[in-house]
Structures are given as structure tokens and as C-alpha cells.
Symmetry: C2
Subunit: 150 residues, 2 copies
């Protein structure tokens, strides 16, 4: 398996999360925190609607699900959508070493800033992720703009 | 009451949170999200220890406690300590208009970056906040460095 195949497998886990959130009436963004040996340490999806929690972005819920650790340099944050400033700040503060992104067409967050800060950033430009998010924004624009604070 | 008095009152609410967290064996950082009319919309403290939750920084728990809203431009985030990149990212992403900080001696986070992004930043350099954090870091260095991902 090539490294790119591995990234695509991890993204599939994030997409599965996004779809689960969507099926529950939520915002279809999913994420996973992956450990050094490719193990999924935590996974999650946006839960603004489900929990009434404006901090429950996918990357945050995945990171939270992984529990307490020291040293994230060898971990990878995998997310279906380019991380907003909030989630980018999480990656920077905790020194997460790598970021794998499904797409950055529907939302362009802080991933370039993270790359400048030394994070390895892989943008997969995945067609399913693009479609999933575009469909959602078309269907629920108010909810989407609330989620990103605009 | 001058505006500075008002900021100091809000900071007192954040310090009260920090002290409550400390009394429960947690990290003594507190925060409050304050509304346009000076109403406290949400308050919280660091809960890494209490909840085993690495995302439970004070600013995040205060923001979460405030629930779902649209438009944070007229709100103020009040925190006992300069916000880390994670919490600074929250302020930027949601367009929180003002940031009142107890101190930035024990930890120098992203508040200058936020000022450059147009956030009104007030650094109170409060002696109690400085002492509270310095005492904690001296007592529990491992826990402190875990909390900021270093």
C-alpha cells in the first residue's frame, strides 16, 4: 500500500463520520486523529446540531475522543474539509505533525498557515468530499454559516 | 463605572472560575464570554483533569456554555491567561470582537496575532492572575506542559 493509499483509507474513516453526522441531521464534516502506526486514536464529526455545541467541530471531537496524551508530533489529523481557524489553532497548539484534508473548495481554512508553521499538509481534493459539502451548503446555508461564525 | 472597572469585574468572574477549577484539582485558568450589555453568556474553566478532555481549555468551555449563536462581533472573551493558538483560533474564527486578558507573563499565546486581525485586545496584567498561574506551574509543571502540548 502506498502512502497515498493509506491517506485515502484514513480519509474514508473521516467520510464515514461525516456521513453518520449527516444521517443524524448534522453538518457533514468528519475527522480522525491517526497515530504513528496508522491506528485511529479518535474519530468524530461535527455535532453542533446534535449537541447544541458550537465548539463541536469534527477535528475537535476527534481530538477529544482520543483522550489525554503528550506529544502529537507523530500523529495525523485527517479531516474531510480544510480546517477553520479554530481547528487549525488546535493543530498548531498541540504540534500535530501532519494534516490530511479531503477538500478545500467549499471552505478554505488555515491549512496554508499550518504548512508555513511546519505541519506536513496533504490536500487530497477528493470528489466525494467536495460533493458532500457542496450539497449540504446548498441545502442548509444558514446552518453552515453559523458553524463558521459568519 | 469606567470601562476598565467593567473589564476588571469581568476578569473577577474568570478568576472565580479558575479558582473553582483549582479547588477541584484542575488547571487554574478561567474564562467568560460576555455579551454586548455586559451580561455573562457563558463561563468556564480548564477541565483537562476533571473530564480527561484535552480540548477543555477555559475559553472553549466558556464559549460552549454560551450555546449556539450567530454573530459574536459585540461579544468579549475574558480569560485569566493569554489564549493559546487553539483558543486564539476560536476567537478569530467566530469573530469575537474583544479579548480581555488577565496576564501574559506565564504564557504568551496568540493575542498579538488577534490584535493584527482586528480584535480589540486589553491586557490587564493582573497581579493575582500572574501569581495564581506561576504557583500552579511551579507545583505541576508536567500537567501544565501537557495542557499546552509541549
Amino acid at each position: 500500500m502506498t502512502r497515498l493509499d493509506e491517506y485515502r483509507n484514513w480519509l474514508a474513516a473521516a467520510v464515514e463520520q461525516a456521513r453518520a453526522g449527516e444521517a443524524a441531521g448534522g453538518i457533514p464534516i468528519g475527522a480522525a486523529l491517526v497515530g504513528e502506526r496508522g491506528d485511529i486514536m479518535g474519530r468524530g464529526h461535527n455535532r453542533r446540531v446534535q449537541d447544541g455545541d458550537p465548539t463541536a467541530h469534527a477535528e475537535i471531537t476527534a481530538f477529544r475522543a482520543a483522550g489525554r496524551h503528550r506529544g502529537y508530533g507523530a500523529t495525523t489529523m485527517v479531516t474531510t474539509l480544510s480546517p477553520c481557524w479554530f481547528c487549525s489553532g488546535l493543530v498548531r497548539q498541540f504540534g500535530i505533525g501532519r494534516l490530511v484534508i479531503g477538500e478545500a473548495r467549499n471552505f478554505y481554512g488555515g491549512h496554508e498557515w499550518l504548512a508555513e508553521c511546519g505541519v506536513e499538509v496533504i490536500l487530497l481534493d477528493d470528489a466525494e468530499c467536495v460533493r458532500m459539502m457542496a450539497d449540504f451548503i446548498e441545502r442548509s446555508p444558514r446552518l453552515w454559516y453559523e458553524d463558521v461564525g459568519s
